[in-house]
């Protein structure tokens, strides 16, 4: 009788871990979308309302971090890249949200290092969660979409200095891109940018 190693079990284990990570990624995506939605209320709010919004945003961000801590725990001693595809969408959406939050508060671009250390610091056990550079770049592309929406809203509110500020911040595709997924996202971003330019033009004339 031919026998094989414990294939069904170990395969089962892998499948289960992947399922758990996919679920956490989905939860992260949903929570991040909610956070972005909240942040869009910030520009048109009064000062005191604004403070409340940012307090609430900070607390939502903290509760998203819990997802990353669970993922860190589940990935410990396992291969990060083997499961990367399972949680990458959630990471990108989270980055979109925190990049947006940082921009609203400080008008600067949140660095990858800061995003990573924020997650680590909030973890009671101090575990590191790795964010790949590709996810960071994809997150920036998504964030650009929010920036454009912000731009359009500022145009509608007649906040011309804000519009100028946003437009100057929008990265004018300075990179020469040689990656397919990223290239596609940046093409979409460029099309949105052209739309924003047209809106700004229409307000100008």
């Amino acid at each position: 009788q031919v026998r094989y190693t414990s294939y069904p079990d170990s395969q089962q284990e892998q499948n289960d871990r992947r399922e758990r990570l996919i679920k956490l990624s989905r939860d992260t995506t949903i929570a991040s979308k909610r956070l972005i939605f909240l942040l869009h209320r910030f520009p048109s709010s009064s000062e005191s309302e604004g403070e409340d919004i940012m307090t609430e945003a900070q607390s939502q961000m903290q509760s998203i971090h819990a997802n990353f801590h669970s993922m860190s725990a589940d990935l410990m001693n396992h291969d990060y890249y083997k499961y990367h595809r399972a949680f990458s969408p959630g990471v990108q959406e989270y980055l979109e949200a925190v990049l947006f939050k940082e921009y609203l508060q400080t008008k600067t671009l949140l660095t990858l290092e800061k995003a990573q250390s924020d997650i680590k610091e909030s973890d009671a056990e101090g575990r590191e969660f790795i964010i790949t550079h590709m996810d960071y770049l994809l997150g920036i592309a998504d964030f650009t979409g929010e920036l454009m929406r912000l731009c359009i809203n500022s145009v509608a509110l007649g906040q011309h200095e804000e519009v100028d500020l946003h437009l100057k911040f929008l990265p004018f595709l300075p990179m020469s891109i040689n990656d397919r997924e990223l290239g596609k996202k940046y093409e979409v971003m460029k099309q949105s940018l052209i739309k924003v330019e047209n809106v700004v033009f229409n307000v100008t004339v």
Partner: protein
């Protein structure tokens, strides 16, 4: 055995491709970078000349790679491999036509681009096909229709008029050609929409 010589021939051909590969990659990188640099004009209307110069400053490096490339291909076989650099040439033509017009207000000729981009590689049998030149020109009106919008936003009201005239000339120039290439004809048909956009901008600043 009929198979015996096959490996030799295949090795030789494979060697050519191996030699070409890093040069092609470098050519792709430079032309991508030139094209990306030109994108900056939309945000910095007042620094257009500097941006054009910055994009064109990479041409000598590009030429060096094309000359090396032409040396690595056996005589008479340039057309066999031309698909490998066709796309990059299209980008380069686009950058040349756009920047030369922005700086010096004239349509750069195919011969000029060939000389500056290929240099000695031309004597080794490389060429920019007329089709590549025309494809490159066809991409310019779309970029200019966008520039038209952004120059008005930046309070520059003379550039749109210049653009309107140039794109009109390009469109008229193509009309005289008896285009056989379907892809080219389609791109040319698309210029109409860029014209329309530009005309609307000119209309907006005229009223």
């Amino acid at each position: 055995e009929a198979f015996s010589k096959c490996n030799e021939i295949m090795e030789a051909e494979s060697k050519v491709r191996e030699d070409m590969k890093p040069l092609i990659k470098e050519i792709e990188r430079i032309s991508r970078s030139m094209s990306a640099t030109m994108q900056q004009i939309h945000g910095k209307i007042s620094q257009i000349e500097e941006i054009c110069d910055k994009a064109l400053s990479q041409v000598p490096e590009l030429q060096t790679n094309f000359v090396q490339l032409s040396n690595s291909i056996p005589k008479g076989m340039q057309y066999k491999y031309q698909m490998s650099w066709k796309h990059s040439l299209g980008q380069v033509v686009f950058v040349f036509v756009l920047s030369e017009w922005l700086k010096n207000n004239h349509l750069v000729k195919l011969e000029t681009i060939t000389e500056r981009v290929l240099g000695a590689a031309r004597d080794n049998g490389l060429s920019i096909e007329l089709e590549d030149y025309l494809f490159g020109i066809c991409s310019v009106p779309n970029e200019l229709s966008r520039l038209c919008v952004n120059s008005v936003t930046a309070s520059n009201y003379t550039l749109p008029l210049r653009i309107s005239q140039f794109v009109g000339e390009i469109y008229a120039g193509f009309r005289l050609l008896n285009l056989k290439n379907d892809g080219l004809r389609k791109k040319y048909d698309g210029i109409k929409y860029d014209m329309k956009k530009i005309e609307e901008v000119v209309y907006d600043i005229s009223i």
